[in-house]
Amino acid sequence: MQRTTGAIFASPMLAMMLLFFLAPLGVLAVASVTGPEGGLTLDNYRVFLADGFAVGVLVDTILLGLKTVAAVTLLGVPLALLYWHSGPRMRTLILVATLLPMLTSNVVRTFAWIVIIGRNGPISQTFVELGLSDRPFSLMFSETGLVMALTQIELPLLVLPLIAVLSAADRRLVEAAEVLGADRWRSLVTVLLPMMTPAILAGWVLVFASATTSYVTQSVIGGARLIYMPQFVYREVGVLFQWPMAAAISFLLLVSTGIVMLGVTILARHRRLAAYA
């Protein structure tokens, strides 16, 4: 009886998933194997995979996601630890500072980065003032600038799960480790990090998925010289009107990012890591 009631309540969600996610995905899959004459063919995939430039774009997209994940981790984990060690006011400040950018649109955040990393922006001016650079420079249209912007934009996706985990963590575990003689580094590595690992892995999945598909940031900060898969898809759809090819490229992006995310998810479910969750 309870199982039937549960199924009834879950059915709207299942119906929505079926209608608005799986069905369009099916349409996309069919479109990707549809030839010009309407028959089934794998030519779109073959053409893409035989094109060194296109495969390079796919590889660059995956690498961009991984670089962003690394940068977000380097910044997000210390920030979460600062939250763990702070008092109530500082905690509120960190939480607000993390959440505030999420309340503005991705477009606004991206355009703000144009100002920050531009020739006349604070980064360039600071380097010139400190004598670290002879003349103003721009990080626009460079991968460094793009990873910097994506790092800030995606940071909440890692920090928020970490804060959620740390807020529920038992502080006595760290105290116990210290009482038993562990120094701060050892407490961090043997107590805190294992507690944080499931959240870090969940954050990696979110950051990677968001960074690899962030069309606005990639196209505005990266410009036309740094080409990633979302731009490639847009070009096929909106400029060349090659929809079957666009569907094939979208599927390849889905599969390749899906493989990376699946790998991280499998890691998160590993017996030893899951035990800490």
Binding site: A224, V239, F241
Partner: protein, 344 residues
């Protein structure tokens, strides 16, 4: 007082909210249409000037921003239920829309202002609402006035200071077609441009993915010159930025902008009223003033001070009108090759 919400009440309320869009939209049905306009200055101008004038004629216009190519893409994907009632495009896209059977011929007798249009603005598929004259926008405080496209690639004063776009943009496509000619290309042959791009790639300050991105670069001082229309320059000036327009020595490419009625438009009467408003003297007089500064196609509207500063009627008469049939034929291969030429 305590507000109590039962689960049943919440479910009923949520169901009501979800059903709301299905209610008959009586107020909007009287004369409402969705009209596409290019994002940025066109969208602003049409929202602030055109929509109120159309409203006086009883038409409620929703301005939907979309680039010309995007409008074509969305129309092609719509499968007989067009997302727009009226389109705003240039000849390249008009040809594609016509070829796909996505726009209807109009009945000029339904437009009161039709006879006031200059002859070149009267086309069977809809009226031209302006002619965009293209050239180079530059910052007079930081760079000398460019004599033409070629100088951008050869004068060290412009090294790293100019921005370009790919073939998704009409403005850029016309400029590249002129550059190809300057470097020895025949019509339809863009190879000289790709050779130039590969040779001088580090000479270019910014390669943007959209006109808005390039104009943002200009506003931030990242670049000082870019391929632009007179309307772009008027818009930047209205924002208080130093910006001048330079006609390339080789000639200024020009491109008419037309309004078309989509096949299957939800309210053809309202589209006619909107078209008529767009070519009326009242609308074109306002659009000819800053910040838009659009060249009028209504013969009763004079060139304003800002337009005359950029283009004289004589310059307009001598403008270059690209061969869009050739451009459309090659645009896909040029777009793909451009990506390969500029990619890092």
């Amino acid at each position: 007082m305590t507000f109590r919400m039962t689960r049943r009440g919440f479910a009923a309320g949520a169901a009501g909210l979800l059903a709301a869009p299905m209610l008959p939209r009586r107020a909007e049905a009287a004369g409402s249409i969705v009209a596409a306009a290019f994002p940025g200055s066109w969208e602003d101008a049409y929202r602030t000037i055109m929509a109120p004038i159309a409203a006086e004629a009883g038409v409620d216009v929703t301005i939907a921003p979309a680039l010309a190519q995007d409008q074509v893409g969305k129309m092609m994907a719509s499968g007989g239920t067009p997302p727009y009632d009226a389109l705003l495009v240039s000849p390249g896209q008009t040809a594609m829309l016509q070829e796909q059977g996505l726009i209807d011929e109009i009945d000029p007798s339904r437009l009161q202002n039709w006879d006031l249009l200059i002859d070149s603005a009267k086309t069977p598929l809809g009226p031209h609402v302006t002619v965009e004259v293209n050239g180079l926008a530059y910052n007079p405080e930081t760079v000398p006035k460019p004599s033409g496209y070629r100088e951008l690639f050869e004068n060290p004063a412009f090294e790293g200071r100019f921005g370009v776009q790919g073939f998704g943009s009409n403005t850029a496509t016309m400029a590249w077609a002129e550059i190809a000619k300057l470097y020895g290309g025949e019509p339809g042959d863009m190879q000289p441009v790709f050779d130039l791009l590969r040779e001088k790639i580090d000479w270019i300050g910014a390669i943007g993915t959209s006109g808005n991105a390039i104009r943002t670069m200009y506003r931030q001082g990242e670049i000082d010159v870019f391929m632009a229309s007179t309307g772009n320059v008027a818009r930047l000036r209205s924002l208080g930025l130093p910006c001048e327009f330079a006609h390339p020595q080789s000639g200024s490419p020009a491109i008419p902008v037309a309004i078309h009625m989509t096949k299957g438009a939800s309210n053809p009467d309202a589209v006619y009223a909107y078209m008529d408003a767009a070519i009326s003297a009242e609308a074109q007089r306002q659009l000819a003033e800053p910040p838009s500064g659009y060249i009028p196609t209504n013969s009763e509207v004079d060139f304003t001070e800002i337009i005359l500063e950029f283009v004289t009627p004589a310059q307009l008469a001598n403008a270059i009108y690209p061969d869009w049939a050739t451009i459309n034929k090659h645009r896909a291969e040029w777009t793909a090759e451009f990506d390969r030429a500029v990619a890092m």
